[in-house]
């Protein structure tokens, strides 16, 4: 094992136990949400998305406080275009049901084939399928932890269908729900993710597999806390496999195909980002007193009555790190984009746009420097390069007759 990695891991603290927030912080976060607003629960997808833009303080604070970013974006007049097609939903559900049919025989076959080759198949009725129903998420999570402990102590196969796992996220409980967890007779636990995008000739969309891997890593982290507890209580080794099983439709059918996905990197990333969520306290402390993102629902209980301008001011009090990638990953992105464009930030043109611009932060500054603005430092290589680039562009365009500039109608 990698010694340095292990030691840093230890320094980050165990996954389930980040430092608890002070009562003051809890109060402050509650004020940010507004009176009577329950924190929006963070699911695995949201937790996995923490790594999408870790430099954004706005997102860290809103997620940490459990603010409903989608509702906030709608109230700001910049709704996100998220949503799921019911066709995709129906397809996903029917595929998952198919994979888990027959007591999970097919699912267990895939787990053995891909992750535990050579293990004998369980005999009929040898696979435990514990009932995980209980009242409330805390109850379900406790029921899941108990079932894992019993299954591990029993030393046989068990299939947990939609277990619920608790995680401590910046001091409040978050609940995450993997599609399935399989307990092996040797005490190893495997996370199973069932997705409806296809695996064609053994390959799948790398962006979607990446997202699934980050989500699975959250489950692995949550399970590791339970496993440590189980091992301590049962005296039997309990270990979470760092490879998850991804099950997708094979080619163009709805027969399942499976692949093992190594989630060690994603687990390390998520662990780091969870540890960094503690900086929510520091971000909150920097806000002007009285800042809140409360929408103040009207009499119907949903329509916000808070003026959009006031909300925008509150949002502006937390600095954002907008980049176009946010559009696919954050409900507030359209609002942040508008602000970022108003400021003329070069990042609106792409995260990489700043790479060669050095200290020039806005499009206006950069264009002025390119145009020979005497205020720009002539010894700055970025200014020099921009001037050269502008001269080269002008020289090349001047040599060409006008219509290329698109100034006249093309039709």
């Amino acid at each position: 094992m990698n010694v340095s990695r292990e030691s840093r891991t230890a320094a980050d603290g165990p996954p389930g136990a980040p430092p608890s927030p002070s009562p003051g912080l809890r109060q402050r976060l509650s004020e940010l949400r507004g009176p009577g607003v329950r924190p929006r629960p963070l699911d695995a997808r949201a937790l996995a998305a923490l790594a999408a833009n870790p430099g954004c303080r706005r997102r860290a604070l809103l997620d940490g406080a459990g603010v409903d970013k989608g509702a906030l974006a709608r109230a700001l007049g910049a709704p996100a275009a998220y949503g799921q097609s019911q066709f995709a939903l129906a397809r996903g559900n029917s595929f998952e049901a198919r994979v888990k049919a027959d007591g999970g025989a097919e699912l267990l076959r895939l787990v053995r084939e891909r992750l535990a080759p050579g293990t004998p198949p369980p005999e009929d009725g040898e696979v435990a399928r514990p009932d995980l129903s209980a009242a409330g998420p805390a109850g379900r999570a406790a029921r899941t932890a108990l079932a894992l402990r019993e299954a591990t102590a029993a030393g046989g196969w068990a299939l947990l269908d939609h277990p619920l796992l608790a995680m401590d996220v910046a001091g409040s409980a978050a609940y995450v729900e993997p599609d399935a967890v399989v307990v092996h007779p040797d005490g190893v636990w495997t996370v199973v993710e069932i997705k409806s995008f296809p695996m064609i000739d053994g390959a799948a969309d790398p962006a979607k597999v990446g997202a699934a891997a980050r989500q699975a890593a959250v489950y692995v982290l949550a399970l590791e806390a339970v496993a440590a507890h189980t091992a301590a209580h049962t005296g039997r080794p309990a270990r979470v496999r760092d490879r998850a099983l991804l099950i997708c439709p094979k080619d163009f059918s709805n027969l399942p195909a499976a692949a093992a996905v190594d989630v060690r990197r994603q687990r390390a990333t998520t662990r780091r980002q969870l540890a960094r969520l503690t900086r929510v306290e520091e971000i909150a402390a920097a806000l002007p007193a009285g800042t809140t993102f409360a929408l103040r629902p009207g009499d119907d209980g949903t329509t916000p009555t808070r003026p959009a301008a006031e909300l925008a001011e509150a949002v502006a009090a937390v600095p954002a790190a907008y980049a176009p990638e946010c559009l696919a990953a954050c409900e507030l992105a359209f609002h942040c984009r508008t602000r970022s464009r108003q400021e003329g930030a070069v990042e609106t043109l792409g995260r990489g746009a700043r790479g060669e611009l050095g200290g020039l932060r806005t499009i206006g500054e950069a264009l002025a420097a390119a145009a020979g603005d005497p205020g720009a430092d002539p010894d700055d290589p970025a200014v020099q390069a921009l001037r050269t680039a502008a001269a080269l562009r002008a020289e090349a365009l001047a040599a060409v007759p006008a219509p290329r500039d698109g100034e006249e109608p093309c039709r």
Partner: protein
């Protein structure tokens, strides 16, 4: 993103409309391209919902699948698509010319010239976006292993005639589209972003309507506003004014309009199929028009001088696939073998180098980017000193001094290239900077392009006052060494692959009852 492109994007923000990245068109544009705008069913792989297809912008052919989960309806769609596409693709097969090519004679092992057919033109498919290219590939994969009743009378659920053949052509187009600069299958967003810089990011440029809003904004509307409208504006029903260019649909369309209509179709309500067709067409038509708007914009650009040379390579590609099909070869396998993969990678790397060089040579604005990157320079000759190589047959090796404002990244002895008239190239090597290491003065020694004699050919040595453009990159990069034949795959790479007939990768996809989803 190169700085010169960042600058162009910033200029576009300031100008309120897109700015040129090129001064000519760097891709072949067919006189009659076949435009294909597909839509797919959410959550299903390779289950088309509909398409507009055709070469006549006024008369697209509308194909729809009222219930995408019904295999027979899906096959019906694919059969119709084959009817719409294959005659176009085949239409270029018989108009041929002869080219001389060197081939290895199997008996003597010598290179001998042979006459081979080359189609004088080739089909060109245009789809709206990069996702459309991927969808063509996906449809190709889903169709090429099907069996028709004619091929295999025992096949359960036989595919309609021509569907496997369309799968093979789509697969070929999809693979060819991975070759840099190839033009058999193009996406309109890819074409437009090569030629214009918008005031938004490359990610946002993937939205065809938003991209067009920057390049050709409606009169009196700032481009950014038009682009934001195109991206997100919805009508009172919550439907997008500019539906996405596919193949994915907007969830709001699926949930509010399509799902109820499909329920009516499933319930056998009369007219439901027509209703779905109208809904699907309403999503496709704006994108169909947008693709043709893009075609117009591109056609207004003069074609780059070396574009025809690259299109000829596409014609070779088309001709050789035509030959493979005529020879009755099996469909392309599911996975390339080691040798085929390595050959494809090598040919694509060569194609990339060639494309980069040719675009720069065809276009001063592209060359400007290479000059900024230190990969080329322009300079004025101030002095020419005649010199000769040592050896038994001294050859002219004049040393030319240039003044330049560019800052090329030169190493001593580094090779330089310059385009001469008539498609020839002159080579030189870098000798030194000017006195005191002055980077504005370059001494270079000409090493070629002066003929074979002791005296340089007239006009082949530049004179003081001439303005020259030298590149550090080759103008006609050649491919690397030949790789072994697949049957000679060495032990390091797993040995020879199974013969095409034995390969499991050529077997048809199993048909299962679950095929009806």
């Amino acid at each position: 993103m190169p700085l010169i492109e960042t600058l162009a994007r910033m200029e576009a923000v300031a100008a309120g409309r897109a700015r040129p990245l090129t001064t000519v068109r760097h891709r072949h544009l067919a006189e009659h391209p076949l435009v294909l705008v597909p839509l797919t069913t959410s959550g299903e792989a390779g289950a088309p919902l509909g398409a507009l297809v055709g070469t006549d912008r006024e008369k697209p052919r509308l194909l729809t699948v009222p219930q995408p989960r019904d295999r027979d309806l899906r096959f019906g769609f694919l059969a119709e698509l084959a009817e719409a596409v294959l005659p176009y693709v085949d239409g270029f097969a018989d108009d041929i010319a002869y080219e001389e090519r060197k081939e290895t004679d199997p008996e003597s092992g010598k290179q001998v010239p042979v006459q081979v057919e080359l189609c004088t033109d080739a089909p060109q498919l245009i789809v709206p976006s990069a996702a459309g290219v991927a969808y063509v590939r996906l449809l190709g994969r889903s169709m090429r292993f099907r069996r028709t009743a004619e091929q295999d009378p025992e096949a359960p659920h036989p595919a309609p005639p021509h569907v496997p053949l369309l799968g093979r052509w789509f697969t070929h187009f999809g693979e060819r589209a991975r070759v840099p600069g190839a033009c058999l299958l193009l996406s309109m967003t890819g074409l437009l972003t090569r030629h214009w810089a918008t005031g938004q990011s490359a990610l946002e440029d993937q939205h065809l309507a938003a991209l067009l809003a920057w390049i050709d904004p409606p009169p009196g509307v700032p481009a950014q506003q038009a682009a934001e409208f195109a991206e997100a504006a919805r009508d009172a029903d919550g439907q997008l004014h500019c539906p996405p260019a596919g193949p994915a649909t907007d969830p709001a369309f699926d949930n509010r309009l399509l799902a109820p209509a499909m329920a009516r179709y499933d319930a056998g309500v009369p007219g439901a199929a027509q209703e779905i067709a109208a809904l699907v067409e309403s999503r496709l038509r704006p994108t169909w028009d947008a693709v043709w708007q893009g075609v117009d914009l591109l056609r207004a650009l003069p074609e780059g001088a070396r574009v025809a040379d690259r299109w000829k390579r596409d014609r070779w590609s088309y001709t050789s696939h035509r030959d493979r099909i005529r020879a009755g070869e099996p469909p392309q396998p599911r996975q390339d073998d080691a040798v085929t993969a390595a050959r494809k990678l090598a040919s694509r790397e060569t194609a990339q180098a060639l494309l980069d060089a040719q675009e720069a040579l065809d276009d001063p604005l592209v060359m400007a980017g290479r000059r900024l990157a230190g990969e080329a320079f322009r300079g004025t000759v101030t002095e020419v000193e005649m010199a000769y190589s040592k050896g038994r047959r001294p050859m002219p090796r004049p040393v030319v001094t240039l003044r330049t404002g560019d800052r090329p990244q030169l190493d001593a002895g580094g090779r330089l290239h310059r385009a001469l008239d008539g498609g020839r190239t002159q080579t030189a090597e870098f000798v030194a900077y000017g006195p005191g290491g002055d980077p504005g003065t370059l001494l270079i020694r000409l090493t070629g392009g002066m003929g074979r004699g002791r005296t340089p050919e007239p006009g082949s040595v530049p004179e003081p006052g001439d303005a020259l453009c030298w590149t550090l990159f080759e103008h006609a990069p050649r491919g690397g060494p030949a790789l072994p034949e697949p049957e000679d795959t060495p032990w390091t790479h797993g040995g020879p692959p199974p013969a095409p007939g034995d390969a499991p990768s050529a077997a048809p996809d199993p048909v299962t009852p679950e095929d009806y989803l």
